[in-house]
Amino acid sequence: MAINQSREEREQRVLSAFAQARQDGLRFRAEGLGHRRRQDRDPSPTLTYDMRDWDQVVSYQPQDLVATVGAGLPLSHLNRLLSEHRQWIPLRVADGQDDTVGGAVAAGVDGILRGGYGSFRDRILGLQVLTPGFGSIRVGSQVVKSVAGYNLPRLFIGTRGALGVITEVTLKISPKPRVSHCWIWRGPLQELLGHAREAESLAAPWATLAFIRDWDQGLALRAEWHGRQQTVDYLVERLGPGQADAPLEELASVGEQVVLKGALPRRELGSLLESWGDGFLVAEWQSGGFFGITSARNQAEALIAWIRARSGGVEVLSGPNVGPDHAVPLPEVWRRLKESYDPDGILG
């Protein structure tokens, strides 16, 4: 069982799998819990490697607000450990799915608390990565601030293992808030936008100001404050009683779903909520981040084009990889990086 193996032994297993894939003419894909699997347009025979036993906590010093963990550790497990010290990773993905830490990094996942806590990618301080070109490399650092060399972790966040397999992640941790309180309003978009603006005028930043468009096209605004009781008392006085907590809506399966994630300039969020069509959408007002599901491929394609035309960023997080390809800026740069990090092109 891998639990007793050293990191070097585990790394050797992955490197052997690289060699096997190369020899057999296969693509290599590392996999965690599998919630963010994207169906390639041109599927190649693939060697899938299960990373779930890379689940160790390598180091955690609560006073530093930094933890280094194996890529296969589920975020829920990590948060259980951190909660013993009243700390957490404030990543709450709108579909409520758990992710491995490495999977969340590789897929570029973000959540509805992005407005209040910053983006998940900004928490990633360092990575241990296995690359076909260079072997095992540490990129970034294990402290909250470092500008030593190029910011290489950015090459591995959201690139789905195209340059290397993430085996360890060093993350910035947050203290848990003393109190949290939630307000939910339902109604037409313009009314909800008024609530969002009022909330922002009273206090900032909110943990989230999330517009939720449910499967029946009903609209709600979820405002969550994380902080001190004094502020909650003030907000209750101004906004009404609210509630201590409220679960996010359960997401039902609707067959072959296209899950999109990304962000839009704030000005465009209202239009996004109006034009989403069938499906489910959460759009965070402060950050412009969104997470949406649709079961119609042509609708997903149209949405992707619409978002890009408004200088937003969007990607298929899971499901069929539809939509026009994003034109990567500096394609020659990317090609040369790919040649260096993955000379035989075995990674996806």
């Binding site: 072997g135 490399i137 540490r138 203290p175 981040g289 740069v333 000379p343």
Partner: protein, 474 residues
């Protein structure tokens, strides 16, 4: 430089904006890091992206190295020209192009001074968060190149967290936009990669920055300690108590001695070993409670006094005293050499003790002024350049301090960059394979290697090959 090249550059930017006079070029021989100096081949001052593009194409075709420069406040030699480089000085590209309040985006040219952005945003209730101590002079283009931080990056993050999109000119003279207005990368985050690349990958010509809402309120707490160890422990305990201050700064005895002789004396009592300056900010009802928590944590230590700023003027004076600490060193020493290592916050007591031991061993006076909250140390090694033996000892001691930072699990630089100064120190933090992976980035962006030569990476990697062979399993 060849006459034809001179004529081409004059055509590109106008004769007035090409500097060739050796006396005028002396101004550009170094930046804030003065231990290395070299004259540039020429300086060009373009005013538009088209002019930058034309200059880059001319230099690239002639295989002449070049670098962009802003205000030259870098403390690691990032803006010092090497190997006969031409400097592209971006000071004429200094416009704030657009303030888009609805999208919370401000669009600026690279030559805009950092603090001018915040001043421009003030009427709208916003500011630009990264605030390097040099913010009165440093430009946003330089901040982009260095991924600059500042006292308030503890809570608000560094430059890379505040740039959404960039217009850049590549080494081949291509103009490209990286990123989008939403700050959401699709696929590889090339923008995040090039921020902090010290001008070695491309030249930024326009930047889209995040506007941060001004906090409703803030409070500054000052704590006076008789022991450095107690102050260091208090830093960790504040964070462990669940408080993320906007800033958490520390000065030791020698630094206090200097700042009290500077332009903004606070009137610290004699004999203090350390001062902590803590700023908390946020929603108006929350700030007094958080400040009270900080006061409680500090008071649980052996502390001589804990004070809350009673007036905005008092608060401003405390911060002016701290922010001018580097300059105040000039009042007690002819020169100083500042280091920039980072250590895990919990190792602060050990790090300070090792710095003191290194200072004693090399017989050097070291003042410490630093961002304690994120473990970013700024030991200031005092010296006199006329004493060559002392200069050598200072350089050796500085390098040993960086080694100590790495041994404690930290980094050789938190915000000043590698530049010329710490190129060889990169080997302390990264092994040969890891450095090769970094060289691959340089090679991917700038195959001829013309952009800001001799910076950021060690001079001669021991095992790098441009096209590495696949790693074999054993």
């Amino acid at each position: 430089m060849e006459d034809s090249l001179i004529e081409a550059l004059k055509m590109a930017v106008g004769a007035r904006y090409l500097v060739l006079d050796p006396m005028a070029l002396l101004t550009y021989c170094c930046d804030g890091y003065t231990l290395a100096e070299e004259s540039p081949r020429a300086v060009v001052l373009p005013a538009t992206v088209e002019e930058v593009q034309a200059v880059v194409k001319i230099l690239s075709a002639a295989n002449i190295p070049f670098l962009a420069r802003g205000a030259g406040t870098s403390l690691s030699g990032g803006a010092t020209p090497l190997n006969g480089s031409v400097i592209i000085h971006l000071s004429r590209m200094n416009k704030i192009c657009e303030i888009d309040v609805e999208n919370r985006v401000v669009v600026v040219e690279p030559g805009v001074v950092n603090v001018h952005i915040t001043r421009a945003l003030e009427p709208y209730g916003y500011y630009y968060a990264p605030d390097p101590s040099s913010q009165q002079a440093c430009t946003i283009g330089g901040n982009f190149a260095e991924n600059s931080g500042g006292p308030h990056c503890l809570k608000y993050g560094v430059t890379v967290n505040h740039i959404l999109m960039a217009e850049v000119v590549t080494g081949a003279g291509e103009v490209v936009r990286i990123g989008n207005l939403a700050g959401e990368p699709e696929g590889p985050d090339l923008l995040g990669l090039v921020i902090g690349s010290e001008g070695t990958l491309l030249v930024a010509t326009k930047l889209w920055l995040r506007m941060t809402p001004k906090p409703q309120d803030s409070q500054t707490v000052l704590a006076l300690f008789d022991e450095v160890g107690e102050a260091s422990q208090a830093v960790s305990d504040i964070v462990a108590a669940g408080v993320i201050p906007a800033a958490l700064e520390m000065m030791d005895q020698l630094a206090i001695y200097a700042v009290e002789r500077g332009a903004y004396p606070v009137g610290y009592p004699p004999g203090l070993a350390a001062v902590l300056l803590i700023e908390v900010d946020g929603e108006a009802h929350e700030v007094p409670a958080v400040a009270e928590d900080v006061h409680t944590v500090l008071s649980a230590h052996q502390v001589r006094e804990v004070k809350m700023a009673a007036t905005p003027e008092e608060k401003a004076r405390w911060w002016a005293n701290r922010k001018t600490a580097f300059g105040a060193m000039g009042l007690i020493s002819r020169q100083y050499y500042v280091q920039d290592g980072v250590i895990p916050r919990s190792r602060l007591p050990e790090a300070l003790s090792r710095i003191a031991e290194i200072g004693q061993r090399y017989d050097i006076q070291i003042a410490n002024v630093f961002h304690a909250g994120d473990g970013n140390l700024h030991p200031l090694l005092l010296y006199d350049e006329r004493d060559s033996d002392l200069v050598e000892r200072v350089i050796a001691a500085g390098s040993e301090i960086l080694e100590a930072c790495v041994q404690l699990g930290g980094s050789i630089t938190g915000e000043h960059g590698v530049g010329i100064e710490k190129r060889e120190d990169m080997r302390r933090q990264f092994n040969d394979t890891e450095l090769s992976a970094q060289y691959a980035v340089k090679d991917a962006f700038d195959p001829p290697g013309l952009l800001n030569q001799g910076k950021l990476l060690p001079s001669a990697p021991t095992c790098f090959e441009a096209k590495p062979a696949p790693v074999q399993s054993s």
